[in-house]
Amino acid sequence: MGDTTTFFRAARPGPHRRATAESPWVRWLLITAALLVLGIFLVVPLVSVFAEALGKGLGFYFRTFGNPLTLSAIKLTFIVAGISVPLNCIFGVAAAWAIAKFDFRGKNLLITLIDLPFSVSPIIAGLIYVLLFGAPGPFWGWLYEHNVKIIFAVPGIVLATTFVTFPFVARELIPLMQAQGRTEEEAARVLGASGWQTFWRVTLPNIKWGLLYGVILCNARAMGEFGAVSVVSGHIRGVTNTIPLHIEILYNDYNTTGAFAVASLLAFLGLVTLVLKTWVERKKEAALQAAETDLTA
């Protein structure tokens, strides 16, 4: 102590541990504990989906996908996501444009309301459309007379899916476009670009990664939604069954391996989502950082 040489040595970042770091064994312990938690809670379930799916061999696995009911469920899931995701995508862009590019009263309330579907149970998301368009609803008489089916039919499934995936694109774009500000668009307008030209050539290239990120999350939820869709679908085999509902039916029919085979398709989709999401996230953050440095420059 007090010796100048040791004083200098301690100040240098070397083999000595910094005062704001943990000892190696604490670090090792924490990393092991975290990996153990994630291993048991996430990795084991993921691996077991595929293990259970292949439990009766590859032949059974592929036969499940040859089943016309499985194929019709896959087709319906793609149709539903193909309608809901673009609808919420257009809404997300419109909402973000209004909120990020203009000032008006009640903006915070609007943002809160857009997030509302996230705090509503999927079961209630299904229930509200049954109350509106089903037998107890005000439109039932008219719908029945004109033979329009919404509940226990595809339109109801689309509506319920649209509700539960409602905020995904908007909540990605709103903060991104708010951070980017409006100067670039204003410059384009002053230079003579039309409104649409400004959007397509200035705004869209700026927000494309954020938009894609929102679409990926929106699509994953749309294809995997179970609760809301289950309430409105009526479970008509081959007609109103999406992939998650088909999994439930196979499972309740004691065809566990078949259920897991179809589930493995959704699990694979989930993995693709994670990979895409991680990749797009990096691009998106670069875009956001560029916007922030532009603002400070």
Binding site: A19, T20, E22, I31, A34, L35, V37, L38, I40, F41, L42, V44, P45, V49, E52, F91, A94, A95, W97, A98, K101, F102, L110, L113, S119, V120, S121, P122, I123, I124, L127, I128, V130, L131, L159, F163, F166, E186, R189, T198, F199, A220, M223, G224, E225, G227, V231, I243, P244, L245, I247, T256, F260, A263, L266, A267, L271, L274, V275, K277
Partner: protein
């Protein structure tokens, strides 16, 4: 006209109008329908439905298990967020991406998978069965499923805060003689409170309404392992629309109260931090 020309950018009326129309058609009007439908019930009828013993048992399970699962996730979430924010290890990027798996894995898949794992003959259940612990088809199963879907909420709210924490604060604590544990407990953790509160409330709200991942593992015994969303579905299947709607109102009000309380706490702690 003069006011209009102040705006250089076009499309305000179009986009805001479309936003409000779409929001009303898809979300606000259908949701309002729940309250309209309930108002057709007399107060006595409503009270009778929502305080029936089977309904009360389902609230206890839904609110209780969601609360405990979110609380457990606070602990595990801090651990995972800390390790991801502070340490480097092999495969960290993959682990980081994997944290979001419960968001990406459809709930029905999670439901049947957890059931198979925790059943007495499952990969995990077979190790617990000799200890006398049964998870599948008990309230513990509900808790496990809700923990699974809630974990990413805490990690993803705490991790960015830990990454952005100013190292000078920890250096100051260390130079004032605090050891690492004291620094974490008295300096770092209090700075995480707002993020933890947000993560907790998101995980709690999600767990409260969760259906797909719970119904397979729960066993769904009335009075024992029946969550409120399932009770709503049961009533719907019996065409008891009034009963289902009354329970839906309780759930909606319950989750709005939670969100409101958290927002108030957030606002107060924000003011508190601003004063410091």
């Amino acid at each position: 006209m003069a006011r209009k020309s102040l705006r250089v950018l076009p499309g305000f009326r179009l986009t805001l109008g479309y936003t409000l129309l779409y929001l009303s058609l898809i979300v606000l009007i259908p949701l309002a329908g729940v309250f309209v439908k309930t108002s057709a019930l007399s107060w006595e009828q409503f009270w009778h439905i929502v305080t029936a013993p089977r309904a009360l048992a389902s609230y206890r399970l839904s609110f209780g298990a969601s609360f405990l699962a979110a609380l457990a996730n606070v602990f595990f979430g801090i651990l995972v967020a800390w390790v991801l924010a502070r340490y480097h290890f092999f495969g960290k990027k993959i682990v980081d991406a994997l944290v979001d798996l419960p968001f990406a894995l459809p709930t029905a898949v999670a439901g049947i998978t957890l059931t198979a794992l925790y059943a007495p003959n499952g990969w995990i259940g077979r190790w617990l069965a000799p200890l006398g612990i049964q998870v599948a088809f008990t309230q513990l199963g509900v808790f496990i499923a809700l923990m699974f879907i809630g974990l990413p909420f805490i990690v993803r709210t705490v991790q960015p805060v830990l990454e952005d924490l100013d190292p000078e604060i920890e250096e100051a604590a260390a130079s004032l003689g605090a050891n690492r544990w004291q620094t974490f407990w008295r300096v770092i953790l209090p700075m995480l409170y707002p993020a933890l509160l947000t993560g907790f409330s998101l995980a709690f709200a999600r767990a409260l309404g969760e259906y797909g991942s719970v119904i397979f593992i729960a066993g769904n015994m009335p009075m024992k392992t029946e969550i409120t969303p399932l009770l709503i579905v049961t009533k719907l299947e019996q065409f008891d629309y009034a009963g289902a709607t009354a329970l839906a109102v309780v759930m909606l009000v319950g989750s709005f109260v939670v969100l409101l309380a958290v927002n108030l706490l957030q606002w107060r702690s924000g003011r508190h931090l601003a004063q410091v």
